[in-house]
């Protein structure tokens, strides 16, 4: 599904390149559940953003579902991730002005899904996540765990084949974190590929493969 070949990314500080990613090679097959670990500043989030096409890279090749990402235009790239990728963030990143229902609905709007269909899909997922009763609340009225639940629901609504999660449990207590992890495992069993960045050994263990990053390189894989 994902092929990263010799991906490098750097910023120039004081005339010298400062590598955020260096010669990263990574192959991800469909259906995998990968955890990316490493200390702060090791390039975890950058790697995730590159895979999610939210960020660019300076060198190397990136194939996503056999599309050569580094060669296609911004617009096609946007089409690509809109179609196949769902994002989950540490800080949830829900739109404060929208209710739970509307937040979940937003990706569908951008995919031009018809209203009746949207309604059914959102109702479905609300049901599945057991948050029907909260659908008219605003994000600020929810607890962190509930917000992240909405965040995951929003990521799933467009039926993505890949979920990229950047420390999804970072702001949650352990019980809430466990719930999210169980949810991910369940989704993975249904065939969704998941790549998560995490600090926690425990959560990393949910994954089928763990990748350790250090100073922008892949240090080891488990």
């Amino acid at each position: 599904m994902i092929e990263l070949k010799k991906i490098s990314k750097w910023v120039t500080v004081g005339g010298r390149p400062n590598f955020l990613l260096k010669d990263v090679n990574l192959f991800v097959k469909e259906g995998e559940f990968i955890s990316v670990m490493g200390p702060s500043g090791s390039g975890k989030s950058t790697l995730l953003n590159v895979m999610g096409m939210l960020d660019t890279f300076n060198e190397g090749e990136y194939k996503f579902l056999n599309e050569e990402v580094h060669k296609i235009k911004e617009k096609q790239r946007s089409e690509l991730y809109k179609q196949y990728i769902g994002f989950v963030f540490q800080a949830y990143h829900l739109i404060d002005e929208l209710t739970v229902y509307e937040n979940i609905e937003t990706p569908l709007l951008y995919k031009n899904v018809k209203q009746s269909e949207r309604k059914a899909m959102v109702a479905d997922i609300l049901d599945r996540f057991n948050i029907v009763g909260k659908k008219d609340l605003f994000p600020t009225q929810l607890s962190g765990g509930q917000q992240q639940l909405v965040g995951v629901a929003r990521a799933l609504i467009s039926k993505p084949r890949l979920i990229l999660a950047d420390e999804p449990t970072g702001n949650l207590n352990s019980k809430q974190g466990e719930e999210i992890m169980n949810l991910f495992t369940e989704l993975n069993k249904e065939g969704v590929t998941i790549i998560q960045v995490t600090h926690s050994e425990k959560n990393a263990a949910y994954g089928t493969r763990i990748i350790h990053l250090l100073d922008g390189r892949i240090e080891k894989e488990e």
Binding site: F87, L98, E102, L109, Y110
Partner: protein
């Protein structure tokens, strides 16, 4: 999708209530002004637009050239026989019409309907004589009307026929059926003639239409010419060119105005030939065609009917500029506040981008938001519009009613305006907001660097621009006010206070002591609260002026001098306090024996010393007038104009006004009112059928400056509105700055900064902008004001304090606005700020 956008927009407005309110208020001020100004400008430019053939109709006008004086004198009329000659001798025209307009005559005018008990006195406002014309039978062919009774076919063909509009028909005949009015008689007593006319038709009035053709009564032109009535020479004498005699032509398709002008020149040349054959002087008139839609604006040729209202194009452009400026200022507020807050919106944008929103969709979303905001502002401005109607009262023609909302083009204009504002003020913020990279915005890195970004540079420029505009207009307002004050309070050379003048009707036995004027003057002398009384010509700065070319022998040579004649009596000098430069005032009882000149006269004929003029004579008609004194110069016109040579003499035939000065009423309030009532009673006893219309002299003087008064009012209002909008913007910016710097303020406070230090810190940046704006606005205003002052022969200087007042005033206002917010955040408890961070 749209619903989602609108929802977010509304919730955003509610979340940032103050900013939304500032935006809406600022925009709605601009929109209200734009709406009213649109109504005015649209109305003025739509004059005669309802006529289908408006582009082929022209008025014939005249330029009198005097090769000796190197002057041209424009007249909005023609010599009476010209239209008929044109009809017989020229080609290329579909129709030619000729009509004579009327003006109020000195004797007063009256209309009687046989059978009606009371005559209708012709007066401004009710049945105005200027709405009656003598028109030829081609009038209705060129200017079609809707016929309610009778027909166009035989209209105005014979003498003593009259056509009325339904308005006038109702006024004269009440609720008689229109068909029954045909054949009824009307007796006109106008211009010392009595004319009996038969009504042969009734047309629909053009009242309410945008037209200068406000005529309500049409008397056949033959009535005037065949009966040789008092004014007939205007209509049939080749040597008289008056703007009372109007000719219109309608060109055939494809004919150019120049072709007709050439034929007019030829006709004129032929008649000049005849004239010189008869031994008369040639004159130098040349005719031109004036387009129909120029009549409403061309001040040179004047209005169509006596006293008609014309529009002043520069004023209209000034109004348009005002509207555009106010709109721009409101939009700047929007741009500033939206880009200032963009960091707060950045997260939402990042999320939307991550979930697949393209740039175009985001731009569309923000434009939708701007659109909604503008829509709210428009609704508010419609609610506010009655207020703006009041502000622009002096500029709004009476025909524009408040029911403008019923017109489709007003809505079209508003829709267009909303779209323009949306794009103008929405596009840049939308671009700023959507260019953020989602990764950056989601990481919340925007806040820290926001004060150094390009957006802030642009914001500062825009804020400076706002204040430049506001201060420029403020300085202009102050300067115009100063000049007005100067003009009204300048020593004009005479007394203006507590003097009342009124017109006394003409008597044929004007020189006899039993003439009604003298009787009235004697009676008024008995009123104790009247100080002095004079029977003479008009006031020193009146509308009735007599200007003549006088031959004057200085003793060395003959001088031809254009001189204004003023008619006085001995009391006149005392009432108006005209001062002597040398010599003496005339003795009483010196009818046409003694005279005074003014300094300008003495200077014009080359006397170095006013005394030199004493003892010389002025030839005035058959009278030889001894110069007994020289008057100090005084203004007979507004301060726009320089002082002309004047001869003051005493002639009974030129008497037209009674002037009296009132004793002070400081100890007895209401004294003047009682006195005026007494005077009116006496007047009515002498002239039972005339109206008593008096005027205070200082009001007459003030009316010279109507245009300036109106300009000052407009400037004052627009500067006020500009300041309000700009201060709203300033308030928005300072709220934003204090919000962003909450943490910094808290840290500084913990480190020991005082509240006043913090206030200074927060305000300094914006105060610098206001000062910078002042530095830019001052020289610009200086140039503009200087140029405007050149219009006045007698003008005030531009003083430095004008700029001082403006600068300091603006600074104080800005500091107050800033203080409201900065002080609040400076004295806030820092712990709260840090905890929430």
């Amino acid at each position: 999708m749209l619903k989602n956008y609108l929802l977010v927009a509304v919730r955003n407005f509610l979340k940032r209530r103050i900013f939304s309110l500032i935006n809406i208020l600022g925009l709605s001020i601009g929109i209200s002004a734009a709406l009213i100004i649109y109504l005015i400008v649209q109305f003025e430019f739509s004059y005669e637009n309802f006529r289908k053939d408006k582009d082929s109709v022209y008025r014939i006008v005249t330029q009198m050239n005097n090769p000796q004086a190197k002057q041209t004198f424009p007249i909005g009329g023609v010599e009476g026989p010209l239209p008929a000659a044109l009809r017989n001798e020229a080609t290329g025209m579909e129709a030619i019409t000729h009509f004579i307009t009327l003006f109020r005559s000195i004797g007063g005018d009256k209309i009687t309907i046989p059978g009606n008990p009371l005559p209708t006195v012709l007066k401004r406002g009710k049945a105005d004589i200027t709405q009656i014309i003598y028109a030829d039978e081609y009038y209705f062919r060129l200017f079609p009307h809707v016929w309610l009774a009778g027909s166009e076919q035989h209209a105005l063909k014979e003498p003593n026929q009259a056509i009325l509009t339904d308005e006038r028909a109702r006024l004269y005949f009440g609720h008689l059926r229109l068909e029954d009015i045909i054949g009824r008689q009307i007796v006109y007593e106008i211009s010392r003639d009595t004319i009996v006319c038969t009504v042969t038709g009734i047309v629909k009035t053009l009242k309410g239409k945008a037209t200068d053709f406000r005529f309500e009564e049409f008397i056949s032109l033959k009535t005037l010419t065949e009966a040789q009535l008092a004014n007939h020479s205007v209509a049939d004498d080749w040597s008289i060119i008056s703007n009372a005699s109007q000719a219109f032509v309608k060109l055939k398709p494809g004919v150019k105005p120049l072709q007709i002008e050439n034929q007019l020149t030829a006709i004129r040349a032929k008649h000049q030939e005849d004239k010189s054959n008869q031994g008369k002087d040639k004159d130098f008139a040349k005719h031109y065609l004036q387009p129909l839609n120029d009549i409403h604006f061309n001040q040179e040729y004047g209005p169509l009917l006596y006293g008609g209202r014309q529009a002043h194009k520069p004023t209209l452009y000034g109004l348009l500029l005002t509207a555009v400026l106010l709109l721009i200022l409101g939009s700047i507020n929007f741009i500033n506040l939206t880009t200032a807050q963009s960091a707060q919106r950045a997260k939402e944008i990042g999320i939307r981008k991550t979930f697949g929103s393209g740039k175009r969709k985001l731009v569309f979303q923000f434009l939708t938001e701007t659109f909604l905001l503008t829509l709210f502002a428009t609704v508010l401005s419609i609610i506010l519009s009655p207020l703006f109607f009041k502000i622009f009262r002096d500029f709004i023609p009476a025909e524009i009613s408040f029911s403008f909302l019923g017109r489709y083009h007003v809505w079209l204009f508003l829709a267009l305006l909303i779209l323009c504002i949306t794009f103008f003020s929405g596009l840049y913020p939308a671009w700023v907001l959507t260019r953020y990279k989602p990764v950056v915005s989601l990481k919340n890195q925007l806040y820290s660097g926001s004060s150094q970004t390009r957006g802030s540079w642009l914001r500062k420029t825009l804020t400076v621009f706002q204040f430049v505009v506001a201060q420029f207009i403020l300085i202009a307002t102050l300067a115009v006010s100063k000049q007005l004050y100067y003009s009204l309070n300048k020593d004009l050379g005479y007394n203006t206070q507590a003097i009342v003048s009124f017109f006394v009707p003409f008597d044929f036995d004007f020189s006899s002591p039993t003439s009604r004027r003298f009787v009235l003057a004697e009676k008024l002398k008995a009123i104790p609260s009247i100080d002095k009384i004079s029977l003479a010509g008009d006031v020193p700065a009146g509308e009735f002026t007599l200007t003549q070319d006088l031959n004057f022998n200085t003793g060395k040579k003959n001088e031809l001098l254009t001189t204004q004649i003023i008619n006085t009596d001995p009391e006149y000098y005392k009432i108006f306090n005209l001062k002597l430069k040398s010599g003496r005032y005339p003795f009483p009882d010196n009818i046409l024996k003694e005279s005074l000149i003014n300094e300008a006269f003495a200077k014009a004929v080359g006397f170095k010393n006013p005394e030199e003029a004493l003892g010389k004579f002025i030839q005035w008609g058959n009278a030889k007038l001894l110069i007994v004194g020289v008057l100090a110069d005084f203004h007979t016109k507004s301060t726009h104009e320089s002082i002309k040579p004047i001869v003051a003499l005493t002639s009974k035939s030129l008497n037209s006004h009674i002037h009296f000065s009132l004793k002070p009423q400081t100890n007895a309030p209401g004294l003047w009112k009682a006195t005026l009532e007494k005077v009116e009673r006496e007047f009515k006893q002498v002239y039972p059928d005339k109206d008593f219309e008096y005027r205070f002299f200082d009001e007459t003087i003030a009316s010279f400056y109507k245009k300036e008064q109106a300009a000052r009012k407009l400037l004052a209002w627009s500067s006020g509105l500009c300041i309000i909008i700009s201060c709203l913007g300033l308030l928005g910016l300072v709220i934003y700055i204090t919000n962003v710097r909450t943490k910094e303020i808290a840290v500084r406070k913990i480190l020991g900064a005082s509240a006043s230090q913090l206030t200074t810190l927060l305000s300094r940046e914006l105060i610098v902008l206001v000062l910078l704006a002042f530095a830019i606005a001052s020289p610009l205003a200086w140039i503009a004001v200087n140029k405007w002052l050149q219009n006045f022969s007698y003008r005030t200087d531009i003083s430095w304090w004008l700029f001082g007042v403006c600068g300091v005033g603006m600074l104080l206002v800005a500091m107050t606005v800033l203080g409201v917010r900065t002080i609040k955040s400076a004295i806030a408890n820092p712990v709260n700020a840090l905890r929430s961070e």
